[in-house]
Amino acid sequence: MTARTDTLLDPRVRSGLEMAGLYVLSLAGALLLSGLLVAATGNSAFKVFGALLDGAFLAPGRWGQTLVVAAPMLLVALGMVVGVKAGFFNIGQEGQLLIGAMAMAWVGTRWPGPGPLLLFVGLALSMAFGGGWAGLAALMRFRRGVPEVISTLLLVFVAAQFSGYAITADWLLRDLDTTGPTRSVSSAPLDEAIRLPVLRIFGNEFNWGIVIALALAVLLAVALVRSVWGFRLRMLGHNPAVAQKAGVASTRMGSLALFLSGGLAGLAGAVMLAGGSSGFRVTSGFSQNFGWQGLLVALLARSSPILAIPMAIVFAALRTGSGFLAATGVDRKIVDVVQALLVLALLIPPAVQFIRDRRKALAMAGEEA
């Protein structure tokens, strides 16, 4: 009988089931550990998780808010995925996102023209500028051999300093409105007409950002699997020598991948701004770690654009949920701990699989020797 079930159950299905089980186990472990930590601070774990759940989904209007937050995270994650699939690690999304938001603010507050058109142009320019920012790293990589992991990371700090300057410089982005008692150190708020339109469903409000992000996730997933471009991108990512042999030059394809990667992060910035982040203004600290968290989303989604969707929602939920923690008297920093534990938990199953594959490979090498 056992032999029969073995043949019925494809080994790939079986290992898939095992992986799913592992995920459930390690997530349960992380939640248990988080609960114990909360209990150690003298609070009720159930209350805390209840508050998180309320804040993220259950309370009126909250899941709409979660979707608003999920959109830029998903966009950043998609950008990471494009790079990783081509074999390039762009980890400077936090900076590219800022650059994109600034491009949006620039178009929205300084360009003349009808609102909807400006919104469209702003979104497009945010992609171009974000992509260009990552393109600097591509230039350094292919001209001088500077690893993109380092250059993209360091460009984050350049972007942060630049945005800090731009919101204090009248000729760049600073709000020119001098009627108030004090001049604000930020860009002017976007006009109504240049904001992302808002959808209202079941008492929840969210903007078009999530729609754009979801559409791009699906588009990217299809392009990677179904298009010649995706085939070549994956070929380059898996084996640059084979790609070069088959006519895919890493300079061109890799630059394109880095440009797209930065472009998606730039778009994330524009979506945040036009979606109401920081009151439709670019302020200091505008990026709010969305760039870094988007990286985690991509990491945990194991570079799958489709898996990135639920992951982005989980991370967004932790963010929006933490807003409700104050009522329980628990420091909202506990959310960072829970988040970290969840990340670690989600990394365990792939690690287990990696070790197993390695063992198998070693055993096979042993047989062949």
Binding site: V228, N239, K245
Partner: protein, 524 residues
């Protein structure tokens, strides 16, 4: 047992040795006796379990069952250090030397306690003189040829004064002259010092020439034991492979090189313009090392040109140039008379050069992609419309090739990495031939494969040439070169230093040439 030893008791006695890896039984109740003063050949093709058996003797693998007796006393061997204390030493197939250290430093590696440079160096000199292993103890290992590196490995092994010496495929990277020298050293040690030597090999002729007794393994089992004096190549081949070996490629695979002389008449008629022409190719590595040094060669349509040579003499750079992976500093590559820019992505492939690289995981295939995807790596444009892949066409294409090339895989959507090495190689071969190339470059296309796969791939290469493709075959296995080539050129230090047609084939001269000696050329 016809070949039971009548004399003294065995120094090493293996009984019922069994080792499993997962579901595969690598060694299945194997018995083996080694005697003092004898060279014992352990013959079998790749995957027969020879190396696993030896790993258990040296303590690198723990047996699942079975006993090891040394001078009649049962021992358990956990690691090579312990094995060395029992007087067992091994010269591995893959060398474990540090290039940036000198010879004597490498010999001292792994020693415990304080390092005494003077006495270690003296010891190295003493061993080299005693056994005629010419090595400069102060030379850096990275500057040494494969043959000399092996001598260093042997010195490392002899330093512990072993009674039992195991050699795993020792001649794989040696020239014929170097192999001969190795066996002289071994024979001397066996006679003078009473060593018991186990020689693991898949090459019939060297086992016949060098051993006193032969154990043949197949699929983890001992299938026969014979005294070398009573053995003949034909029956050994049959025992080893489990069936009659007929094709000359198959014969070459197990190292019995008699074929070419007999086949001298059938060399292809070569006429007209070359399809592939490499002229004065020269290039250096980033660190200034010369990779190719004015190499020129031609391949005509329908001929197989064998490039013979010891590994590391420019074969890999030449192949990389033909894969668009390496730029030439000077010189040119022409296909059908047209110059092809080097190192431009896809240029060589587009010009009609298909390559089967020596290391298929470097530039031959993508293990993480599916079998079907791997079969269209270089030709994906033909399976697309409006930039979208025609996935059904790709799968249909894959199914045809899987059938035609007899690729064993669960489905065409299986990741390539899950296939066996032989089947992966078939995928690489099928991909290369399916694009309709003008030139096929095959670099060590059969290394590490079993005899069946070797015969198959050899047959495919011959067939490709018969269909009018110009074939460039690079191999360190002279038997393979001799069996398949219409014309043989010899590569040495990045240049072609000699050439012979099949009609003038001469193993001895070829052996001299690949060692870099052009002395034979003057006489010729």
């Amino acid at each position: 047992m016809p070949a039971e030893h009548s004399g003294d008791a065995p120094v090493l006695q293996l009984r019922e040795m069994t080792k499993r890896y997962g579901e595969v039984v690598a060694c299945d109740h194997v018995d083996l006796d080694l005697h003092r003063g004898e060279i014992h050949g352990i013959l079998g093709e790749n995957g027969a379990g020879k190396s696993t058996l030896m790993k258990m003797v040296i303590g690198l693998a723990l047996p699942d069952a079975g006993t090891i007796r040394l001078d009649g006393e049962a021992v358990r061997l956990h690691d090579p250090v312990q094995a060395a204390r029992h007087g067992i030493g091994m010269v591995h197939q893959h060398y474990s030397l540090v290039g940036a250290l000198t010879v004597w430093e490498n010999v001292a590696l792994g020693e415990k306690g304080a390092l005494d440079p003077g006495s270690t160096r003296d010891r190295v000199v003493e061993i080299t003189e005693r056994y005629g292993l010419e090595v400069d103890p102060d030379a850096y290992v990275r500057d040494l040829t494969a043959g000399v590196r092996q001598r260093v490995e042997i010195i490392k092994c002899l330093r512990h004064e072993p009674r039992i010496i195991i050699l795993d495929e020792p001649t794989a990277v040696l020239t014929p002259a170097e192999s001969e020298h190795l066996f002289e050293v071994l024979g001397e040690g066996v006679r003078r010092e009473g060593w018991a030597v186990a020689l693991v090999s898949h090459k019939l002729d060297e086992v016949l020439a060098a051993t006193d007794r032969i154990t043949i393994m197949r699929n983890g089992l001992v299938v026969d034991r014979v005294a070398t004096a009573d053995a003949d190549a034909h029956s050994l081949a049959r025992e080893m492979v489990g069936r009659e070996v007929t094709l000359r490629t198959g014969a070459a695979a197990i190292g019995s090189v008699e074929a070419p002389a007999a086949a001298a008449g059938e060399a292809a008629e070569v006429k007209g313009e070359p399809i592939l022409e490499v002229r004065d190719a020269a290039t250096r590595a980033a660190d200034g090392r010369v990779l190719l040094d004015g190499l020129s060669l031609e391949v005509h349509p329908g001929e197989v040109v064998g490039v013979a040579g010891v590994e590391g003499n420019g074969q890999t750079p030449l192949v990389r140039v033909l894969e668009s992976l390496l730029r030439l500093e000077t010189g040119s590559v022409r296909v059908d008379g047209e110059e092809i820019p080097t190192c431009r992505a896809g240029a060589m492939g587009a010009a009609g050069i298909a390559v089967i690289p020596a290391d298929r995981h470097h530039s031959g295939c993508v293990p993480d992609m599916t079998v079907a995807e791997n079969l269209v790596l270089g030709s994906v444009d033909r399976f697309a419309e409006w930039g979208l892949l025609k996935r059904e066409d790709i799968k249909a294409h894959a199914r045809v090739l899987i059938e035609e090339f007899d690729i064993h895989c669960p489905s065409c959507d299986t990741p390539l990495g899950q296939l066996s090495g032989g089947n992966q190689q078939r995928v690489v071969l099928a991909q290369a031939l399916s694009v309709g190339p003008k030139v096929l470059v095959a670099h060590q296309p059969t290394r590490g494969l079993d005899v069946g796969a070797i015969e198959y791939i050899g047959g495919r290469i011959t067939a490709a040439a018969e269909s009018g493709i110009g074939v460039l075959l690079l191999s360190t296995d002279l038997g393979e070169i001799a069996a398949l080539s219409d014309r043989i050129v010899v590569i040495y230090e990045g240049r072609i230093i000699g050439e012979m047609s099949r009609a003038e084939f001469d193993m001895e001269r070829l052996g001299l040439l690949i060692g870099g000696s052009t002395a034979g050329e003057d006489a010729a």
